[in-house]
């Protein structure tokens, strides 16, 4: 019984504190304390996560499961960055304190840690982000089909925005004078009209719905009506 009651009580109490703190000046420090508690919890939980990472990958290596080489690379990279970063190996000495090793700058690319960030981590994350360009193209090819009126509207909007975001928009309609009655047909004007009015209106509507959903979900959790995140026994 206590297994479920205590967590719900903690949730309810800290929930009420956070709400009260938003409206009552003297309770602000209480909410900051609750936030600090969470930061401490997540710092401790990081150890849990790291331990799990080690356990899973070591098990993969020891049992030689398919793809165990990736697990080995993961562990080697993990320990390399951990050791190099924590011990500041190869850090560039601080001119003001050249004899103090831990005063050195390890984030510059002249040090191993900074070098790995600049020439390994940064290109890898940029590459993953760059994959989006390819996936957007394949998703657009597959999904943008004019099957009904809504799809046709979507297609038309997509064409306008795609062209307006490039020099082609100016090339095609830049000759229309800004102050003429046909200026609304310029691609840049169409883009502004779509993004600032139609898109913004739709986004606001979705945001209002989300806000209400957030409020209802939060209330269900604080009142203990939804307990699906807890153990049963």
């Amino acid at each position: 019984m206590l297994q479920r009651t205590i967590p719900i009580a903690i949730l309810c109490l800290s929930g009420v504190i956070m709400i009260v703190a938003y409206f009552v000046s003297f309770a602000v420090s209480w909410s900051e304390t609750v936030n600090v508690w969470f930061n401490i919890l997540s710092a401790v939980a990081f150890v849990l996560g790291a331990g799990n990472l080690l356990a899973v990958n070591l098990e993969k290596i020891s049992s030689r499961r398919p793809g165990w080489a990736y697990a080995a690379i993961t562990l080697v990279s993990f320990f390399f960055m951990l050791v190099v970063g924590l011990l500041k190996l190869g850090a560039v000495p601080d001119p003001k304190n050249p004899l103090v090793h831990f005063a050195g700058d390890y984030e510059t690319s002249a040090s191993p840690y900074g070098w790995m960030y600049e020439y390994v981590f940064s290109p890898l994350t940029s590459t993953m982000f760059g994959l989006l360009a390819f996936y957007v193209a394949s998703a657009a090819f597959r999904a943008f089909r004019a099957k009904n009126v809504e799809s046709i509207l979507l297609l038309g909007t997509a064409f306008i925005i795609l062209i307006a975001q490039t020099a082609a928009g100016i090339f095609l309609t830049g000759w229309i004078p800004q102050d003429s009655v046909f200026a609304v047909l310029r691609f840049d004007s169409l883009k502004v009209g779509i993004t600032e009015h139609i898109q913004t209106a739709g986004m606001r509507a979705i945001t209002i719905g989300i806000a209400l959903g957030v409020a209802a979900t939060s209330l269900r959790l604080i009142l203990g009506i939804d307990k699906s995140y807890l153990s049963k026994n």
Partner: protein, 319 residues
């Protein structure tokens, strides 16, 4: 075996308490600032804090809005408890959960559940974990393998608790395997690379993306499409919804995502809260219509009482 299970369950009490504290913080930030998101849709005026009074009077309108919305939700719950029939619109995405997991079972492949990339401070992650509990129960009943890679350590702990509870509820505690719920990395694209790599290698038959996503939404969805998985997504990130809508089979948009847990539970109290949420939306629609009408009439008579009323409402509720 039952004693061992009970002992292990006691040891998770600490994690449950941690998860509860972790959930409380986003709930209340979200509850207090969820309505502030509505304010963001309109230009906000100066909000000088009344630092010398106990109650921040500048946030009075927001407090009133919270009371109204919470009152609507609680009212919905009480109506549900009174036995009145509840009519909830069917959500195709949630009706497809059984179909997706059944498909995975028939094909002998696993089910992948991604609870987003944010920590438990984000209410979307909390909502994703509650949906995970429902999905895990169905997976346990169907004896399907459920894999949950997580991006945060606390989320891993909460996910393990939710899945374990689901297995108990399904009467299959022995099938729970905590090794299927793992922490990968906090780094966004490192997580994406790991999950998409495992998707291509293991080829899950059903993929669920429920939580807060950013740029990786399309990477997940397109990869899932390439392996032929049935994909059900839900997020409250407006900028990522178009990618999920374009690439997934079913998508829960915004508030539907938050209603999903209540919908799947089937409990009257929770369904009643959805009705209350809908009432809050009706109020918002009414307020928008009144505001638009006042602003339109006021535009023709800028010095009149109507224009003044519109400006007063904008200033009061806009902050």
């Amino acid at each position: 075996m039952m004693r061992e299970i009970r002992e292990r369950s006691r040891s998770t009490m600490l994690f449950a308490a941690t998860a509860a504290a972790a959930i409380a913080i986003p709930c209340c930030i979200a509850l207090a600032e969820g309505e502030a998101a509505v304010e963001a849709a309109a230009p906000s005026a100066t909000a000088a804090a009344a630092t010398d009074s106990v109650f921040r009077t500048d946030r009075g309108p927001l407090a009133i809005a919270i009371v109204i919305v919470c009152g609507a939700v609680i009212g919905g719950i009480m109506l549900a408890r009174s036995g009145r029939p509840l009519k909830i619109r069917r959500l195709a995405a949630l009706d497809a959960v059984d179909e997706a997991i059944g498909r995975a079972t028939e094909m002998g492949r696993s089910v992948l559940f991604v609870p987003g990339i944010q920590d438990m401070t984000d209410i979307q992650t909390v909502a994703g974990i509650t949906i995970l509990g429902r999905v895990a129960k169905t997976a346990a009943e169907y004896d399907a393998k459920l894999e949950v890679p997580t991006c945060r350590s606390i989320v891993m702990a909460a996910a393990r608790d939710a899945v374990q509870a689901a297995h108990f509820e399904a009467g299959r505690p022995e099938t729970y395997n905590e090794g299927n719920i793992n922490y990968l990395t906090d780094e966004q694209f490192g997580y994406v690379a790991a999950v998409t790599g495992s998707m291509v290698r293991d080829k899950p038959a059903a993929c669920f993306y429920m939580g807060a996503f950013y740029a990786e939404s399309l990477l997940f969805a397109e990869n899932g499409n390439s392996i032929g998985a049935i994909q059900i997504a839900g997020t409250a990130e407006p900028s990522q919804l178009p990618f999920f809508v374009a690439a997934c089979d079913y998508t829960l948009i915004g508030e539907e995502f938050f209603a999903a847990s209540a919908y799947l539970s089937g409990e009257r109290d929770q369904l009643g809260s959805i009705k209350g949420q809908d009432f809050g939306k009706l109020l918002a629609v009414g307020a928008i219509l009144i505001g638009c009408l006042l602003a339109t009439v006021g535009a023709f008579a800028p010095e009149g009482a109507v224009a003044h009323a519109a400006e007063t409402i904008k200033t009061t509720f806009g902050g």
